[in-house]
Symmetry: C2
Subunit: 318 residues, 2 copies
């Protein structure tokens, strides 16, 4: 018998899935589940954010609400779906000022508006400060899963890496840094990019990088039965990462490879889709390729070494 912390989230989810009745739907295991409703592909995902873990120093309650919505819309985006609404169960101590609740809900509403959808409902309970969001989406084209990567595909990602981690450490150390703080407090769910990748039949696998690049690469490779070579020099470094790392004596490489909370999309695609990808104005970088091997490697200055999956676990407080 082991504790949740000892087992770790990924293994827990695997064991849960193994224990339960076989599911007819896509996911559990993907960013969102996908069910068929009278011929429509409906995706749905639930994710919790807590004061304890996600409320960076200096964040407003509106920003916390935005974050709660964004992490859920990010999961919808990674499936290539368009958002169709969000529910929010908010748990706060009974002695909390009522305005805290309204501010959180306003932040959720603003993120929903940004994603061209709306708040559908929710719940309020006494608790220690958390929001359990559930986002719905509709897939008009291909559902993007983790399992479709093929050897020979290229690997790409939206946006950049490291800013959210850097911003988290900055706020922990009472450094206010605009670029990295906004990466923590107002992450942008990559909804347009996800729909683009699905509608144009580009991505063979897709997942958000919420738990860090190494974890995301491991999940896609594990689900697809492939390996991956990631080119260190091709990884897009986020604004302010070097600045904060210098100040706090942190390793930019560590933050970029293993830091969480980025909410970018990582995806694989066939090489013949490269021109189409470049024709879009999306902020996308090609960062590696899918191999037929069993390992995930990071290649630095031409030297290959295994990319250790150090992505953080939700049951370890660090």
């Amino acid at each position: 018998m082991a504790t949740l912390k000892e087992v770790g989230e990924r293994a827990l989810i695997d064991r849960i899935i193994k224990n339960m009745r076989t599911s007819s739907c896509v996911g559990p295991g993907d960013d969102a589940a996908c069910i068929d409703i009278n011929g429509s592909k409906v995706v749905v995902s639930t994710d919790v954010v807590t004061f304890e873990r996600h409320l960076a120093k200096g964040m407003t309650m509106e920003q916390f609400g935005w974050l709660a919505a964004a992490v859920n819309f990010s999961d919808i985006a990674s499936m290539g779906a368009r958002p169709a609404g969000i529910l929010a169960a908010v748990m706060l101590p009974p002695e909390t000022d009522e305005n805290v609740l309204y501010d959180i809900m306003n932040g959720i509403d603003q993120c929903a508006e940004f994603c061209d959808t709306e708040v559908l409902g929710g719940d309020t309970k006494s608790g220690h400060g958390s929001v359990c969001g559930t986002a719905l989406g509709i897939c008009d084209h291909n559902v993007l899963m983790r399992s479709g990567a093929m050897p020979g595909d290229l690997v790409a990602m939206t946006g950049s890496l490291g800013s959210a981690s850097a911003g988290w450490y900055a706020s922990l150390n009472d450094i206010y840094d605009k670029d990295t703080f906004s990466a923590v407090a107002l992450p942008v769910p990559r909804v347009k990019e996800g729909i683009f990748l699905s509608a144009n039949d580009i991505a063979t696998a897709c997942m958000d990088i919420s738990d860090g690049l190494s974890t995301t690469a491991a999940a896609i490779c594990g689900s697809s039965g492939v390996g991956m070579d990631i080119m260190w020099e091709s990884l897009p470094k986020g604004k302010g990462v070097d600045r904060i790392c210098k100040k706090l004596k942190l390793s930019p490489r560590e933050l970029m490879l293993n830091g969480g909370g980025e909410y970018e999309l990582m995806f694989t695609f066939p090489r013949d889709r490269l021109d189409l990808l470049h024709s879009s104005d999306a902020d996308i970088s090609v960062i590696g390729m899918v191999t037929s091997g069993k390992t995930i490697n990071i290649i630095t200055n031409g030297k290959s070494e295994p990319l250790e999956n150090k992505g953080y676990e939700h049951f370890t407080k660090d």
Copy 2:
């Protein structure tokens, strides 16, 4: 400025709805939201259960999981929909034995199987012991809302009243009582009944009694702009209510009118549907009628008095 506890859940939700952008969907405000997905009516609801509030003494973790699922399927049932899946975000302290998580998920899975559907996915986070469930459903017929009650309609409910409350107090006082304990630990979501009421065009308004009869009556009357007369003698008393109330010196009337956690359906319907209703084998009692007045009355031995809305609030710990 007031605290959440001072304002109370119902007023908080009203204020949130008032503050936010106008929603195109049915709900917020109903048991579940209803959105149109390519012509299909999809209902979705989220509800949190916590160890602190919902874990009666003696309940197993499987039972807690069942409860977490049942409260959500009850909301789907009250809209007249057939369940299409459930997601569960489980929050537990990191030092918890992993088997607790598996047992909770098994309980959720068992309730999903009972409701002819399945677990679609979820989330696991460090927390103080709670499950945030989100259930989906599909409405093949009329969506049952709180707002459709018409003066002249009859009022009815499924099952009985008071057992869950009685069971809760029994467990608090270390009395193990089989009938009332199972009402607390293994509530039955009235899915079949909800679908029957919708498919046969019976109910004009419907809601689950999860927060007590008086609160439910107030919500339906408030949404529908009607009054209600409830007949005390027609209210079906749950098994074990008298026994537990006698032991603990509690008032059966108080439990039946204001006790929460029953998960029965209360609904209104036109008189010409009475024969159809009686033709079913569902366990249904007619308990009153809808009036054109503005008050909700409880009639006892022919004497009418206002039925005070004392339904419990989620931000008051009692």
